[in-house]
């Protein structure tokens, strides 16, 4: 009686209307971007509800984190200053929910608050519990909490692991649902617009086959042909740039979680301003004027794209508006490698993973290579995702360290 949602219906219809107008991407074919049907919330493409976990997430998110949990945790202790600042700004006595808490590095960051973490990876949750944190195993797309109980919620580097627009939106709705009126929600996601664009070359783009083999496929994916864009054999090695690799991590890419040491807390790490800004769906920042180009990282404002949101929409290119193929369109679906050192590998059952083709060996690096699925966000996408949520306004939004971030306030 406490936990039924009210978030379906009109709000979804509005955001979906906007989505229909946005340029379609190879990885976001019509069947996926328009899961349609706001009234029922059904996903016509695969006949699956948004709460149902697609195979690609089970295999290339859940299973991977389960397999790499101890190593992931050992390399994930640095906290992102902006998240810590948000938590530090909460009033004493706040109850904070961390949906997708990973190894729990944000749990307890503000000693005056109470924290409850959850993650879908039981091995990661076990690590949190062993450190004395209050945690449970749960799915961020369907949180098992009564509505309005928390004072704040955070979703740090979680939404980019959800493989459909509908699931990403549902996860945001859940975050809003579980906080009280007036409570805040902080969301951060990886950006397409990486500050170090060379990193993208180390990821494996999921091509048009992505739709065929995963999105439109039934629960069990079809066998993949050797020429498939998804074939593990075809995935190029992520050669770490010597100056970018960090001693404490063997992953080739950690834009969010590996950068903290570079930016000591200072003026830029101050707590986010929480001036409510009404989320106006008619002027939400959407497509870039030409609908295609990745902005030069140096041109990305370090703070806020709020100004853009107030400008009228620029005309869109006809081709992209119609969802026609566009060579310049940004790739957003990727596999990002994780290198699990051999001496760590047996814990996660790496031998079986290699035998089944799920992971592969890299003798040069002395590591087992797993691939994690990412949907990286482009500018304006996070705003679009939250635009249809009727009981929340955007309190702050910013780009920082290769992440798009937004703070919502429940109304």
């Amino acid at each position: 009686m406490h936990r039924r949602y009210s978030a379906r219906g009109g709000g979804c219809a509005r955001v979906l209307d906007k989505l229909r107008m946005k340029p379609e991407l190879p990885g976001e074919g019509a069947t996926r971007v328009i899961p349609a049907d706001a009234a029922t919330g059904q996903l016509p493409a695969a006949g699956e509800r948004v709460e149902s976990t697609p195979e690609i997430e089970k295999k290339f998110v859940h299973h991977v984190y389960d397999a790499i949990a101890p190593h992931f945790s050992a390399t994930r202790f640095a906290r992102w200053p902006k998240v810590a600042a948000f938590l530090g700004s909460l009033p004493r006595g706040s109850l904070v929910l961390d949906a997708g808490c990973g190894n729990g590095k944000y749990l307890g960051v503000n000693a005056d608050c109470l924290f409850l973490g959850c993650d879908i990876s039981a091995p990661l949750v076990n690590i949190c519990a062993s450190r004395g944190h209050e945690v449970l195993v749960a799915d961020a797309v369907g949180l098992p909490f009564r509505s309005g109980y928390g004072d704040a919620a955070i979703s740090v580097a979680v939404l980019h692991h959800l493989s459909t627009e509908g699931r990403r939106r549902k996860a945001v709705e859940e975050l809003v649902r579980v906080v009280r009126r007036g409570g805040h929600v902080l969301i951060t996601v990886w950006a397409v617009e990486q500050e170090d664009q060379s990193l993208l070359a180390k990821w494996t783009p999921l091509g048009p086959k992505y739709d065929e083999e995963w999105v439109n496929a039934s629960a069990s994916p079809q066998p993949r042909s050797p020429s498939s864009a998804l074939s593990l054999e075809s995935i190029p090695e992520a050669h770490e740039h010597p100056t970018r690799s960090r001693a404490r991590s063997s992953s080739s890419l950690i834009p969010l979680k590996g950068i903290v040491a570079e930016e000591p807390a200072g003026p830029r790490a101050q707590s986010p301003s929480l001036k409510p800004i009404i989320a106006d769906t008619s002027t939400a920042a959407d497509e870039k004027p030409d609908g295609s180009r990745v902005p030069s990282p140096s041109l990305i404002p370090s703070k806020g794209i709020i100004g853009d949101a107030e400008k009228p929409d620029a005309p869109r290119a006809e081709g992209t508006e119609m969802g026609l193929p566009d060579d310049d369109v940004e790739q957003q679906e990727y596999f990002v490698p994780w290198h699990l050192p051999y001496h760590r590998a047996e814990v996660g059952g790496a031998s079986a993973a290699i035998a089944s083709g799920f992971a592969k060996k890299d003798d040069q690096k002395g590591a087992v290579v797993y691939n994690r699925y990412y949907h990286v966000f482009k500018e304006g996408e996070l705003q679009r995702l939250v635009a249809g949520i009727e009981d929340a306004v955007v309190a702050d939004q910013f780009y920082d360290k290769s992440n798009w971030c937004i703070v919502l306030q429940k109304t």
Binding site: R3, R92, L114, L136, G142
Partner: protein, 126 residues
């Protein structure tokens, strides 16, 4: 799992209407001291489903069962240090290490192991 967490959790199996409160079946309970935070207690009080809270506290195995919480609670009680201490202890210092949470509508059981409730649903439940 603290009783605070129990107070927040509901069964979210597809189609369930009355998934709250989950019946607590505690097998192993541990007591661990927690920092006393009166601000938090006064703040969270309004959100506590008191009936579910007291029901869970009284259902704990004999040596841990809480008998000194009132059947009903009023905000005025928050002025009492004694009440706050008892509230604090039951809410935050009792940890269900092993047991289960049971949906009142469907009987679906969610295991608690090593203090961690597993609230993941099966594919046919979402």
């Amino acid at each position: 799992m603290r009783l605070l967490t129990h107070n927040m959790l509901a069964c979210n199996v597809k189609g369930v209407v009355n998934g709250y409160p989950l019946r607590l079946e505690a097998e192993v309970v541990a007591e661990r001291p927690a920092d006393f935070n009166a601000d938090f207690l006064r703040h969270i009080f309004a959100r506590i489903d008191w009936k579910a809270f007291v029901g869970a506290a009284r259902s704990l195995p004999e040596e841990h069962a809480v008998a000194d919480l009132p059947e009903d609670a009023e905000p005025s009680m928050l002025a009492s240090e004694d009440f706050l201490r008892r509230f604090h202890h039951a809410l935050l210092e009792l940890h269900v290490e092993k047991g289960a949470l049971v949906c009142p509508e469907t009987g679906r059981r969610f295991a608690i192991d090593k203090g961690i409730p597993n609230m993941l649903l099966n594919e046919d439940e979402v």
